[in-house]
């Protein structure tokens, strides 16, 4: 008499997601491996060669590319610029995004219209935004310069993109202007999950609006804050678009970010191997900063 089969410990007993279903993962997994994992591994491979992007008859150079990148000062300069840019965009886009979300979460007329308008910049491509703001910032006859001239100030002297001290801040503002709509939408979604009865209880207990925000709303949307901050940090550390479109990394090297430097090394200097080494270091840097930020934010969430 046949014995009933004993089920292995840990065997898949699900009637919905049977083992056969894993076959359906293969296409997605294959795409992921071929178009993401493989190129990333290639990056590590090229980083120890002197490949110039054209000639495939290249040699292995060991750690030379890494040493050059660390030695010649470009990494330090671009890392400093990237950090300043990231901090500015994270702060501005989140503070403005949260502020606008708070306002647009109240009972005001034309709320839908205002929400649409606030989100509008996020719909444009970086190229369009970059060109628009190039003319906004243009000295002499740009929008801001013209407005300054209209009120009797020296509009001709207004030249944020041509000044070393202001160029990086100027492009960071553009990034924040484009990004705050997206953070606002996420904050708005978070604020709408706050239970009205808690706010009402607070008001009965005599809380001011600031106390309601600080003691009730902010702790309840702390996970939303974490998401927004982390997304902004990642986006800020990958900054490239506006350095490329609006300033070409200038004046001098004042707006050269990590990604811009990688681009320039690879496609202008034609040092694909060194650019790969640069990318590996930038990749490590972004991962470290992001993980540290995530740990810190999660800790803050618990404290709140």
């Amino acid at each position: 008499m046949a014995q009933p089969k004993m089920k292995r410990k840990g065997a898949n007993t699900s009637l919905v997601f049977t083992n056969k279903m894993y076959f359906f993962l293969i296409p997605a997994l294959a795409f992921f491996l071929i178009f993401w994992i493989y190129p990333v591994l290639q990056l590590f491979y090229y980083s120890i060669t002197n490949f110039n992007g054209v000639n495939y008859d290249f040699d292995f150079v060991g750690m030379k590319n890494y040493i050059k990148v660390l030695d010649n000062g470009t990494l330090t300069n671009s890392m400093k610029n990237t950090l300043i840019y990231a901090v500015l965009t994270v702060l501005i886009s989140n503070v403005v995004g949260l502020g606008v979300a708070m306002i647009l979460n109240t009972k005001i007329h034309f709320k839908g219209l205002f929400r649409t308008c606030a989100y509008f910049p996020a719909l444009f491509s970086a190229i369009v935004v970059g060109f628009i703001w190039s003319y906004v910032y243009m000295p002499g006859s740009g929008m801001i310069a013209s407005l300054l001239s209209m009120i009797g100030l020296d509009g001709a002297a207004f030249n944020p993109l041509g000044n070393y001290k202001t160029a990086l801040y100027a492009i960071a503002i553009v990034e924040a202007w484009k990004a705050f709509g997206t953070t606002m939408i996420i904050y708005l979604a978070g604020l709408q999950t706050v239970d009205e009865s808690l706010l009402e209880a607070g008001r009965i207990d005599g809380c001011t609006e600031w106390q309601l925000f600080h003691k009730i709303k902010l702790p309840l949307i702390s996970s939303t804050v974490t998401i927004n901050v982390i997304l902004s940090v990642i986006s800020g550390l990958k900054a490239f678009d506006y350095s490329f479109i609006m300033t070409n990394g200038g004046p001098g090297k004042s707006t050269k970010t990590l990604m811009y430097q990688v681009y320039e090394t690879a496609f202008t200097d034609m040092k694909m191997g060194r650019a790969s080494a640069f990318s590996v270091l930038a990749f490590a840097f972004i991962i470290i900063v992001t993980v540290l930020m995530l740990l810190y934010m999660n800790k803050r969430e618990v404290e709140l």
């Binding site: 992007g53 054209v54 004046p251």
Partner: protein, 440 residues
């Protein structure tokens, strides 16, 4: 006819002076199959160029139609991409072995599609047996790699100084300057008359090359045409006294004296500077023959008369003129001989395709029909005259590994932006970058 001959001699002169690590070409005696297309049946030839297609664009519309008219069995498929897309696409296609049959390449080491880099990697076919290069071998030294002509180019590109004749007259300037001192005096006269002497769009740092390379022709190459070869052989250096330090100092004078307003120019893009010039807001701008159409257009100041002169040096006038970008054939193409036949027809100097090519105004042709009737030829004549006299030199960055000029421009930009950068910092930076880029 006289101009045609002059132009041909001119090109020969200027490029003979150009330094190139190229050996003297040895040409195939028998040549390629001149009836390759006729014997091929229906074929498709692919071509990829950089630029932005316009209405009735030459490469994407006129050329395929004219080729179809000449050879009904040939379909020419042309892809035109903006510069950055072109470079990326070219590299990808070369890497995958799917490169178009004909591609646009640049002389020497210029750009990411430099003919020397591509030839070194074995991607380009020798064009020594093309009919249209016979007799022009010396003039094509900037596109000759290891004895093989690898790019067929029909014209030259010029860097010069566009100026507004009305504003010059208003400031009491009667003739074009012949020396650097005269040029500075003219700038001062314009400034005294309340006119901005020069406008530049330095936010796009590459435009600084337009003035610097003119001065380099005056001050460096006129005295030592082999300077760049010596750089590569470590017999010369960017830090050598009286070479780049002098050029940079002269150009910086224009900023120091406010002839170029750095507080404005560093925030201006190239197109914004062009707009200011045609609007009559500045008397001069340094730019190339390739931007003539934009710089000669009507602006807010209407149709004022414009001139174009080479920026003079301390000892006279020389010109920064180089071979234009041209066309190369992919070495692994299945239609090499057909492509050669097509190029020979296009570039023969007399065909319908040639005339249409010339009519675009994008090249200053140096041979064939209408070389002297190219659009704006009168504007370029003084430069051609200088070429005839052997006073023309190629654009410096063509002989440098790509990236050297960017270091120069970044550091120069820092200097005029008041960041405390000195001229010695720039020349040292250029030398370091040059050595670094040559280091394999």
């Amino acid at each position: 006819m006289k101009f045609k001959k002059m132009a041909a001699v001119a090109l020969a002169g200027v490029t003979a002076c150009a330094t190139a690590p190229a050996a003297v070409p040895v040409f195939a005696a028998d040549g390629y199959d001149h009836e390759a297309i006729e014997n091929a049946g229906d074929i498709t030839i692919t071509m990829m160029v950089s630029g932005v297609a316009t209405d009735n664009d030459f490469e994407t519309e006129q050329l395929p139609a004219l080729i179809k008219e000449k050879w009904p069995n040939v379909t020419l498929e042309v892809t035109k991409l903006p510069d950055d897309n072109y470079y990326t696409s070219l590299k990808t296609k070369l890497a995958s072995g799917e490169c178009p049959d004909i591609i646009l390449t640049q002389p020497m080491y210029a750009g990411q599609n430099s003919c020397y880099a591509l030839a070194e990697a074995g991607y380009l076919t020798s064009l020594n047996d093309l009919d249209c290069v016979q007799g022009r071998e010396d003039s094509l030294s900037s596109v000759t790699y290891d004895g093989d002509i690898v790019t067929q180019t029909a014209g030259v590109s010029i860097l010069g100084t566009y100026y507004n004749k009305d504003l010059f007259a208003q400031a009491g300037i009667e003739s074009e300057p012949q020396t650097w001192d005269e040029f500075l005096e003219d700038c001062q006269k314009l400034q005294d008359a309340g006119i901005q002497p020069i406008v530049m769009g330095d936010k796009d740092q590459y435009v600084m090359q337009f003035g610097l390379y003119q001065l380099a022709a005056d001050e460096i190459y006129s005295k030592n045409p082999d300077f760049d070869t010596q750089l590569r052989d470590e017999e010369a250096s960017f830090t050598d006294e009286g070479t780049w330090d002098k050029v940079l100092e002269m150009y910086n004078t224009l900023y120091e004296k406010g002839y170029i307003d750095s507080s404005k120019s560093l925030g201006y893009g190239a197109s914004q500077a062009i707009t200011d010039f045609i609007d009559g807001k500045a008397a001069m701008t340094f730019d190339g023959s390739f931007n003539a159409t934009a710089l000669l257009a009507d602006g807010a100041a209407g149709d004022f008369e414009r001139g174009y002169f080479p920026l003079p040096g301390t000892d006279g006038v020389y010109t920064a003129t180089c071979l234009s970008a041209g066309y190369s054939i992919y070495s692994k193409s299945e239609n090499v001989d057909a492509c050669k036949e097509l190029l020979d027809y296009w570039m023969d100097g007399e065909s319908e395709v040639w005339d249409a090519y010339l009519a675009t105004g994008k090249i200053i042709a140096t041979y064939g029909n209408g070389a002297d009737s190219s659009p704006n030829y009168d504007l370029f004549k003084p430069f051609v005259d200088l070429l005839n006299e052997g006073k023309g030199f190629y654009w410096c960055n063509q002989a440098w590994p790509a990236g050297t000029e960017n270091e120069m421009l970044s550091l120069f930009s820092e200097m005029v932006g008041g960041q405390g950068t000195e001229i010695s910092d720039i020349t040292e930076g250029m030398q370091d970058k040059f050595e670094d880029l040559l280091d394999e």
